[in-house]
Chain length 350, copies 2
């Protein structure tokens, strides 16, 4: 015991292990383990005695050691690229799904530095099978991961995926959003797209195109730019869109963050929303109700996506037989929320 330098006894006590409890209670570690997990086969007197020592010493079993031994950890992991409004909503929904159950949540947030794909792979494969019982991927950059535990994805790359996916009816929502603008009288409508690797982004663009088509409006490639789903990445394209000689009278941004950035850019350019420019978003994140003017957007119940994803994941964990079945691909309805960022164009039809 004296062979190690002990810097750390300043105020860090050594961790209390099951062995300490056993020694102090005068029983074997096996018995302590049984008490901790309240298993049968321990005499009431022993049980009480051990329990007292546990309380006394403040012992908590090590999650690590426990999960190394018995594969179940009762922890589910959520992998997000970044903490932004969308993922924050998913997390809230996920947390709600856990209420009352006996699972806990850990969130791995990447976002620090470079290579997303590598990062995801590494995380999933390092943690799966050991720390977590299952994983929820949020807007993943990988389509497939090979691993030994259940996985589900929210807002996936593709709903053809091998694991269950949860998304909104992105196509229908985009159709509705674009139709809303068309009904207001807009004919020159810009589209600020999202990350093309996500199915949601592709479907929203398709909805936009089809709505134009059915209204007999010719598609103009100049009006479609990729905004990357984040404020920082949307700024440039938004500016570019609004700087066009023949400026659109309305912009459909593929998510709220892009829409908010579009409004900000418009205001910087001296354009008034919605008088000079209508803007519509997608997501209905809480922030969208706070903008000036409040943003018209397509509501998708993001929390519900997180909620359902976790529910399904837990079912998959607890009923291994389910894993043999083909994965479900849930698509939740969307709803147009008309606020004040959209209006009829100033001069109807250019």
């Amino acid at each position: 015991m004296l062979d190690e330098p002990r810097f750390d006894d300043a105020d860090l006590h050594e961790r209390v292990t099951i062995g300490d409890v056993a020694e102090r209670a005068g029983v074997s570690i096996a018995t302590v383990s049984r008490v901790v997990n309240s298993r049968y086969g321990v005499a009431p007197a022993t049980f009480e005695k051990v329990k007292a020592v546990i309380d006394d010493l403040g012992y908590e079993s090590s999650l690590i050691a426990r999960s190394l031994r018995s594969q179940r950890t009762h922890v589910i992991g959520v992998l997000v690229a970044d903490i932004e409004p969308f993922s924050a909503e998913v997390l809230k929904g996920a947390a709600n799904a856990l209420r009352g159950g006996d699972y806990e949540l850990v969130v791995y947030s990447g976002g620090h530095g470079g290579d997303h794909v590598g990062w995801e792979r590494r995380y999933v494969s390092r943690l799966s099978g050991t720390l977590t019982d299952g994983t929820v991927l949020v807007t993943p950059t990988v389509a497939e991961v090979s691993l030994n535990q259940p996985v589900v994805a929210v807002d996936p790359q593709s709903s053809e995926s091998a694991f269950p996916t949860f998304a909104s009816q992105n196509y229908e929502g985009a159709l509705t959003a674009t139709r809303h603008l068309i009904e207001l009288g807009h004919r020159r409508i810009g589209f600020l797209g999202g990350r093309r690797d996500l199915e949601s982004a592709r479907l929203r663009e398709q909805g936009y195109r089809d709505a134009l088509h059915e209204a007999g409006i010719e598609f103009d490639a100049e009006l479609v730019l990729e905004g990357g789903f984040k404020e920082a990445t949307a700024a440039g394209p938004a500016r570019q869109l609004l700087a066009l000689a023949d400026r659109p009278s309305a912009v459909f941004a593929a998510n709220d963050l892009s829409a908010i950035q579009t409004m900000r850019t418009a205001q910087e350019l001296g354009l008034r929303v919605p008088d000079d420019l209508s803007v519509i978003g997608f997501d209905n994140v809480p922030e969208s109700a706070l903008t000036h003017p409040p943003l018209t957007t397509v509501d998708q119940s993001i929390q519900a996506l997180g909620f359902e994803a976790v529910r399904t994941l837990i079912a998959l964990i607890e009923q291994p037989a389910l894993r043999r079945e083909p994965p479900s691909h849930v698509s939740m309805p969307t709803k147009l929320v008309v606020r004040q960022s959209t209006a009829a164009p100033r001069a109807a039809t250019a």
Copy 2:
């Protein structure tokens, strides 16, 4: 191998362990371990051979097993009660501090169900010393935790804490905010406080009181209510404040979320901000720039708090000798950000 029912070979392969790699490469597990950790003493030829097998099999070492054996995990944990704007900002700052370093971040989010104190204790004690090398507590509900690894706190219960703490100059900021209202001509100023167990909330109230005092305005207990720092919990008190017979002409809300809720409530009651009611917040979360009208608030660099907390934590982890020194209590400057939710009262001085 045939004694277990194998539901799971549908598409879940067994985890690849170090043993599998060793067997396939025809070396011992010790050698594989050395290759994985790129230690000295492995012949170049062997190194390459093993590396090829690792790539081939897609092996990643188990974080769990690794950390059980060698105490260092290179993972730092962040414990948050909830994912809300404040904690989300802290997380971003924390993630930034990790950029380029060789640490990773896991976030434990509680918030699902009941007993916060118990939850924090359990988490910290179960994870400490095993999964994480250190922990950042964000707005903790416990003042002290006894454990065997470094801990720092952001927005703590008390800056007398035994571990390092990171907060803004809450008192000074609150003083400035209240003075701003007084300078505009307000004399009847409401205060919508925060969670009293947090030092930040107490200091902000003290700043409010002292600013009134120095201006010779008598303190009126009726104008001070506790709003709990969240939108849901602030709604009732905000309504109560604005329903007073002798309604305040301005409200200082102890954080932005409460301020936003106050504005919302005011608008529901038909009051215009800032004409009928001035509102000032605290935090300067991103959302505060989006409100209608944009919120005047006290800026604290929340990301910087997260950033510095992580920096300090890492130093503590890597230099155990530092742990003997008394903990530092960092207090970061604040800045008034005047936007459009504050103005002179309609009829100056009642």
